[in-house]
């Protein structure tokens, strides 16, 4: 008997979202099959990693064995340039959570970074709805046409953020708390505000390995199945996993940097397997490690 591979064809397709300014844009999504099912369909854009830069204080990633990434520049724009030069990062994520400065100051610092580099930038706000609904539109307006990915837009503040993204042609991160039904609802509401489906990225809220990762994993799976198998147009946006902060606040990561890097790396790979199209990392070590694994995999796939 001849072996017949079990091949499924799906009726749906994930939207392709373009991040960043013209020349250096990065595409995410666009696949018409499940993660890594290249034997069934086309996945035009491999999963992307973004590296996080805190808008106020930089972490110290000094690791005895690795030696590098000590004495990082404290100025976010300088750090961004260093990461681009030394790691070849394609996307930067500016992180504002816990920043104890005024909203105007946050916006000022963000704009400075956006003007200094020409790769795609994610603006991951404070997570406090009342602050983000002022901060994000301010940045969106000043940086019109930069193709920024802004968020998190939540049930409480999506209107203000969506309006700014429509007006200044930016992209939006739609965040809901581990709930497929709520994720669909928020996408519907964003589209009602005038956004196109290819301006939205779903953030189902990510947890770290050992701290509820399975919940996120299963929500991501369900989103991809609804999008591809059931051709649900309101679930066909790419998925973002913001895992840096979650991983680095675990007991295991705090004990030891090497352990933390592995913790963050495993979490990232799991979500990529579940269907995340872009993962936000905190440590440059993790970035390097995870990028190596992804590149090796992609080379192997091509060789086959």
């Amino acid at each position: 008997m001849v072996y017949q591979p079990a091949i499924d064809i799906y009726s749906g397709k994930i939207e392709e979202v373009i991040l960043g300014p013209g020349g250096n844009s990065v595409r995410i999504g666009g696949e018409d099959t499940l993660p890594f099912h290249s034997f069934e369909g086309v996945l035009p854009n491999p999963p992307k990693l973004a590296l996080e830069i805190c808008i106020t204080k930089q972490a110290d990633w000094t690791e005895e064995k690795a030696g590098d990434f000590s004495n990082l520049p404290s100025e976010p724009a300088d750090l961004a340039k260093k990461y681009i030069e030394e790691l070849g990062i394609e996307i930067i994520a500016l992180q504002f959570a816990g920043a104890a400065i005024s909203i105007d100051e946050m916006a000022k610092r963000a704009i400075k970074v956006i003007k200094a580099v020409d790769i795609p930038i994610i603006i991951y706000g404070t997570g406090v709805s009342e602050q983000d609904q002022i901060l994000l539109p301010q940045i969106a307006a000043t940086c019109a046409g930069k193709g920024l990915l802004l968020g998190p837009a939540k049930k409480e503040n999506y209107r203000e953020i969506a309006a700014a993204c429509v007006a200044y042609d930016q992209r939006v991160i739609a965040q809901t708390p581990l709930d497929v039904n709520a994720a669909k609802q928020l996408n519907i509401m964003l589209i009602k505000e005038g956004l196109a489906a290819d301006q939205i990225v779903i953030d189902p809220l990510s947890s770290a390995l050992g701290y509820g990762m399975e919940y996120t994993y299963s929500v991501m799976e369900r989103i991809k199945l609804a999008a591809l198998v059931h051709n649900d147009k309101m679930m066909q946006m790419p998925i973002i996993a913001n895992i840096g902060a979650e991983c680095w606040k675990t007991k295991e990561a705090k004990e030891d940097i090497t352990q933390g890097v592995l913790w963050e790396g495993i979490t990232a790979l799991c979500f990529i397997l579940a269907g995340a199209n872009i993962v936000l990392l905190k440590s440059p070590h993790t970035y390097k490690l995870t990028q190596q694994i992804l590149s090796k995999h992609l080379t192997d796939v091509e060789a086959n």
Binding site: N181, Q185, I188, M189, A226, H230, D232, K233, M234, M235
Partner: protein, 293 residues
């Protein structure tokens, strides 16, 4: 489908206040209005009834029997309150409810024997609500066996599989139907009932009715025997009487997965078709499901 009216309920302000004041009028009015609305049973829900439960249930049964001939469904988890109500019931009566919990088996099921009452038995047991159809089947079969041994025939047992809100667990709503189909094979002769309003907890207020109505048609299609419902949902009552055949037909077409051209239907029928697609698991639930094509 046999409908049990849920509107006399300790959770409602009218009922709670009238009970506190021992004022029969508002509760009797609710009983008369539900009788007129056309339901088959009246549920008298006292909840846990920890304080003076027996006195309250006895009073409630007496004042309601004075104004309606409908059979009653006595709804409390307190067996002492339950017995006080059963003792004064004139007509056939339904115990709402027993379960597979040890305490319920020991104290509630014997009352069904003593008073030759029918009894609702839920799939709940000491471990909680089983998560899938197989787990529910296992739990209910154990309890039914115990009930049979006590002398309660299958004909007097109404199984409550427990319905979860569609916004919380859509798959469970879809799987519910599978359980109902299994039930008639597993325990021939048993009836089924369900708290239909539980389906819509958390759903937008103006959309609760269409969800409930659509799901009732689906349950009826799969031979569900009865449901506990809002007596004042007129559309639900009319659908149950077969007075809105076009709506019933469109929902049945969705269940049968027939190709249907939505454009050929009225706006209301289209809404029912969309809702049926959600409740049969063909479309992922979101609060805005009616606004999508």
């Amino acid at each position: 489908m046999i409908l049990i009216g849920e509107n006399i309920n300790i959770m409602s302000k009218i009922t709670a206040q009238a009970l506190k004041d021992k004022d029969p009028q508002p509760i009797q009015n609710l009983a008369i209005a539900q009788t007129k609305a056309g339901v088959d049973y009246l549920d008298l829900n006292l909840g846990p009834a920890r304080k003076n439960g027996d006195e309250q249930m006895e009073w409630l049964v007496k004042i309601i029997q004075a104004v309606t001939k409908l059979p009653l469904s006595l709804d409390t988890t307190n067996p002492i309150a339950m017995e006080a109500g059963l003792a004064v019931c004139r007509n056939k009566v339904l115990i709402n409810s027993a379960s597979g919990k040890q305490e319920s088996i020991e104290k509630m099921l014997p009352l069904a024997v003593k008073y030759s009452a029918e009894v609702i038995i839920s799939v709940l047991n000491d471990e909680g609500i089983p998560s899938d159809a197989a787990g529910r089947a296992e739990s209910i079969m154990e309890t039914i066996e115990i009930a049979n041994e006590l002398g309660i025939p299958n004909e007097n047992i109404w199984v409550d599989p427990i319905l979860l809100p569609v916004g919380v667990n859509q798959q469970a709503v879809v799987d519910y139907v599978e359980f109902i189909v299994m039930l008639s094979d597993m325990a021939p002769g048993v009836k089924s009932t369900v708290g239909l309003s539980n389906l819509v907890s958390g759903a937008p207020a103006h959309l609760k009715s269409i969800l409930t109505c659509t799901y009732m048609i689906i349950l009826e299609h799969f031979s569900q025997y009865s449901a506990i419902v809002d007596s004042f949902n007129n559309e639900l009552i009319r659908l149950n009487r077969g007075e809105l055949p076009k709506i019933t037909e469109v929902v049945r077409k969705v269940i049968a997965e027939e190709d249907i051209d939505l454009a050929r239907f009225s706006a209301r029928e289209r809404d029912y078709a969309k809702t049926a697609r959600v409740l049969t698991g063909k479309v992922l639930y979101s609060h805005a499901w009616l606004e999508l094509d």
